[in-house]
């Protein structure tokens, strides 16, 4: 009888998978550490040999040094401020173009995506052509085309193309008529916030009521009504109760320009940083004889300036503004004042990002809508819903589940792609960081800051979108 040779002892340690796993990971870690050390020591050696302003050391002291360069747009920045603040201004500029771009690209993409699945042959073909052209060419080429080929080719300031009352197109920028929140609008903004909170509360209560009683109906509607009611009431309330600050004062220079401000320390002189400027306040300028020589609004920074006055102004009167003011751009000398001004760089970057990303979003929307089973359309038709209702009530809610994940990555792409700003000179995060590197030589530190910033954008956006995605995800039994 053959004896069993079944092994009873454990395998030798070098064949034990648990041991192998630990050893493999250790080897990997050691290799990684050695590579890292090799790269790091090379870098330190080379930095020490080179003669950069950072002194070869990986120091962060440069962040507090005076930048010495100006930033053409975004939050006000003076050359005597620090590199650290210059970086923050860059971050703000990236966020500015990123947020506006995301909103506009979503609208364009949604429109083009729905047009793409439209039963109207002509419209769907046109949308398809748009999507294919802009998806298949590099964003950089499109950006340069908009910047050099379109915006730079617009007429000069004096011959600006007029868009009715909406604004002007010039090769020095796009100037739009815009609605601004004025000085007294702050009170109205508080009303809006209250309306938002109460609206959410109302719709939550309504939802609970509906669920408890097994009723059907819209939970969002009461919330929206509450919000709108408070917005309207708040507007009139703010308009009636608002008043200008007691210590309002003005500074008038050369008889045609100056600043309107709240004289915080009541010394009668405008001091930037101490006194608060008053934005979008209606003003009247009077000459020595008491005749009105000009009327208008102060600008966002509290300044005003009028060209070619019939007489020198000596006195100014202001009125309490409504919460919202419409400001139209007006040609004053060699540039437009008032309204919303977009620099050519910002406009080109925004148009390029929106048109490019919009094409990708359109494709995502199309794919999401076609992912909804055809039977859903047919069932909805059978229930007597029309195309609009079917799309809104049946198809889009289901398509959204397919759309959200790729949409998130498009949003992230848009923010990352805004780094192409360097090609046209818009001072975004990356462009400003290159200026800082060129001046300080702090290559490694700045790269770390830039990458850290983009990574945190990615992280925040994905966290938010994951939360939203979870909310709308199909609840399975």
């Amino acid at each position: 009888m053959a004896s069993s040779t079944f092994p009873t002892s454990r395998p030798p340690f070098f064949r034990d998978t648990r041991v192998i796993a630990v050893v493999l990971q250790l080897i990997f870690l050691i290799a990684l550490a050695l590579t890292g050390w090799f790269l790091y020591s090379n870098m330190v050696a080379r930095l020490a040999a080179s003669n950069t302003a950072a002194g070869g050391a990986l120091s962060w002291a440069f962040l507090n040094q005076t930048a010495g360069f100006g930033i053409s747009e975004g939050p006000a920045f003076r050359p005597d401020e620090s590199y650290g603040r210059a970086f923050l201004v860059g971050v703000a500029n990236t966020l500015r173009v990123g947020v506006v771009g995301i909103v506009l690209a979503t609208l364009l993409g949604l429109f083009a995506g729905i047009a793409r699945v439209s039963t109207n042959w002509l419209l769907s073909r046109l949308a398809a052509v748009y999507v294919e052209i802009f998806r298949s060419t590099p964003l950089l080429v499109q950006l340069l085309f908009w910047y050099v080929g379109v915006i730079a080719a617009l007429p000069g300031i004096q011959e600006a193309t007029e868009l009715g009352n909406l604004g002007y197109l010039t090769n020095r920028g796009i100037h739009l008529t815009w609605i601004f929140v004025t000085e007294t609008g702050r009170i109205w903004l508080a009303w809006l916030l209250a309306g938002f909170v109460l609206g959410i509360a109302a719709s939550w209560l309504r939802r609970r009521h509906l669920e408890r009683n097994g009723l059907t109906g819209s939970a969002a509607l009461p919330g929206i009504l509450v919000f709108l009611a408070l917005a309207v009431i708040g507007y009139f309330a703010a308009d009636m109760t608002a008043s200008m600050p007691e210590a309002t004062a003005y500074e008038l220079r050369r008889g045609d320009r100056g600043t309107l401000f709240e004289d915080v320390n009541r010394n009668g002189v405008y001091e930037p940083g101490v006194d608060r400027t008053l934005a979008y306040v209606p003003i009247k300028l009077f000459d020595r004889e008491g005749r009105v020589v000009a009327t208008g609004l102060t600008e966002g920074d509290g300044t005003f300036r009028f060209i070619n006055l019939p007489a020198e102004a000596v006195r100014l009167e202001w009125e309490t503004p409504a919460p919202l003011a419409v400001s139209e751009p007006q040609l004053q000398g060699f540039n437009f004042r008032g309204g919303l001004s977009l620099t050519p760089e910002f406009a080109a970057l925004l148009i390029a990002l929106v048109v490019y990303t919009g094409a990708f979003i359109a494709e995502i929307v199309r794919a999401g809508i076609s992912a909804v089973n055809k039977g859903q359309w047919e069932a909805s038709r059978a229930l007597g819903l029309n195309t609009g209702q079917t799309l809104r009530l049946i198809v889009l809610p289901q398509a959204l589940r397919v759309i959200i994940p790729p949409l998130t990555s498009q949003y992230l792409n848009l923010v990352k792609n805004s780094s192409l700003a360097i090609a046209v000179g818009y001072p975004d995060l990356f462009n400003v960081s290159r200026t800082i590197v060129n001046q300080t030589g702090a290559e490694v530190q700045v790269i770390l800051m830039v990458m850290g910033t983009y990574l945190s954008f990615s992280l925040i956006t994905s966290l938010f979108m994951n939360w939203y995605n979870k909310r709308i995800a199909l609840v399975e039994r």
Partner: protein
């Protein structure tokens, strides 16, 4: 006992009128128009509005294209194709083109599917440039390329060349391209110096050739790294898994342009002082490869996730080692599944190489910028920027759209992306 069966069938002898044709408003061109353009009042309005918009777009475009000033593009066609590459040595890029054409022909004949689709596209381009009078020699090269492609197709379709040899041919073609374009091998660090023609410095390479080279090198070199990263991300060993996740998410979280600038300024810092500074091309290729690897890893991971668990278990049951099961069972299936995704990534990378113009490489967009700056066109009213950028956009469009079209045809053949 029998029962008389009486016929219960009833035949209508009262024939109805002969079948009528459907009304003209329901079928044919008129029916199509009604169904697709004028099905309702709203639809009709939509059609009319779109038609008016289309009319303005098309007429504006036609007027612009016919009135545009294309001479700068035409006269700089060599610059757009190969950059500053010396005219006397143009036979070297031509040799590369012929080699690639032949390989494409063989692969299209042997493997079919996406290779055939791409081969048809390449043949069409070669034919186009053999006909357009771009220059006698260049046209001859294009015609020869077309000939090689067709011969290769015929050979590949009939002779059963082992797939492995063909794949080896593609792998070898990449370093061979560099040797052919460079005029030899010049690696001072290794003490290698061999040449068959005067060396052509990489800063003279440019135009579409460089754009292609950057994209192809990016995808080819990132392939092994990407596969390893994808496998590492699915590994059970936490250290390796988290390293791979960290790498992939870090790279995917930052724009390519930051990596390109980092490659330009920091790559030399990481090398020992004795090694000198790598050329701009090498730095850009390193950055593009490291960037592309992270995206490729995610694509490959998608393919790995699509493999049913039974395949792993079956490989284990057969007693295959972990390596063998990957090599013979898992990767062949996973990689076939992700071909369309990798083609998509190649298209993206092809477009992204335009960013190399921002770090000083003379690829297509940089050539365009240089052409716009040429003194002879400075007096042109309105400038020539529009013409140049539209031309570059068309070049990118032809390649990107062609590739995505080929890939989509493959997808529909494989049955991907089909739901109901």
């Amino acid at each position: 006992m029998t029962t008389e069966i009486r016929s219960t069938t009833w035949v209508n002898t009262n024939h109805p009128a002969p079948a009528q044709k459907p009304p003209v408003t329901e079928v044919g061109p008129i029916g199509w128009l009604r169904a697709n353009l004028f099905s309702s009042v709203g639809n009709t309005i939509l059609t009319l509005v779109t038609a008016v918009a289309l009319y303005f777009i098309v007429t504006g475009l036609v007027r612009w294209v016919s009135g545009a000033f294309w001479q700068p593009v035409w006269e700089n066609r060599k610059l757009f194709a190969v950059g500053l590459y010396p005219v006397a040595q143009m036979w070297q890029p031509a040799a590369v083109l012929l080699m690639v054409s032949a390989l494409f022909g063989l692969s299209a004949g042997r493997w079919g599917s996406i290779m055939r689709n791409l081969g048809v596209g390449l043949a069409a381009l070669l034919l186009l440039f053999a006909i357009i009078p771009i220059g006698a020699q260049a046209q001859l090269v294009m015609a020869a390329g077309l000939g090689l492609l067709l011969i290769g197709y015929g050979v590949g379709a009939r002779v059963p060349i082992p797939s492995r040899w063909l794949a080896l041919g593609w792998v070898v073609s990449l370093p061979l391209t560099f040797i052919l374009l460079g005029g030899g091998v010049n690696l001072p660090a290794l003490g290698v110096r061999w040449q068959f023609a005067p060396f052509v410095e990489v800063n003279l390479w440019g135009g579409l050739m460089l754009t292609m080279l950057l994209a192809v090198v990016g995808i080819a070199l990132s392939f092994p790294i990407g596969v390893l990263l994808a496998l590492g991300r699915r590994s059970k060993l936490p250290v390796i898994k988290w390293f791979c996740i960290g790498y992939i998410e870090l790279i995917r979280g930052v724009p390519l342009i930051t990596l390109l600038f980092m490659g330009m300024t920091m790559l030399p810092l990481f090398l020992p002082s004795g090694w000198g500074n790598p050329s701009l091309l090498v730095r850009a290729m390193t950055a593009i490869t490291l960037f592309s690897a992270a995206y490729l890893a995610e694509n490959v991971r998608g393919g790995l996730q699509a493999i049913p668990k039974g395949q792993y278990e079956a490989a284990d049951a057969l007693g295959l080692s972990a390596f063998d099961s990957l090599r013979f069972i898992i990767l062949p299936q996973a990689l076939t599944k992700v071909i369309p995704a990798i083609v998509g990534q190649f298209i993206g990378l092809f477009k992204d190489t335009s960013l190399a113009s921002l770090v000083g490489l003379l690829e297509l967009v940089a050539v365009g910028k240089a052409v716009i700056q040429q003194p002879e066109w400075l007096g042109t009213p309105g400038g020539i920027a529009r013409e140049v950028y539209v031309f570059i956009a068309v070049v990118f469009f032809v390649f990107s759209y062609g590739m995505s079209f080929a890939s989509r045809k493959l997808e529909s053949k494989l049955g991907f992306g089909k739901r109901q």
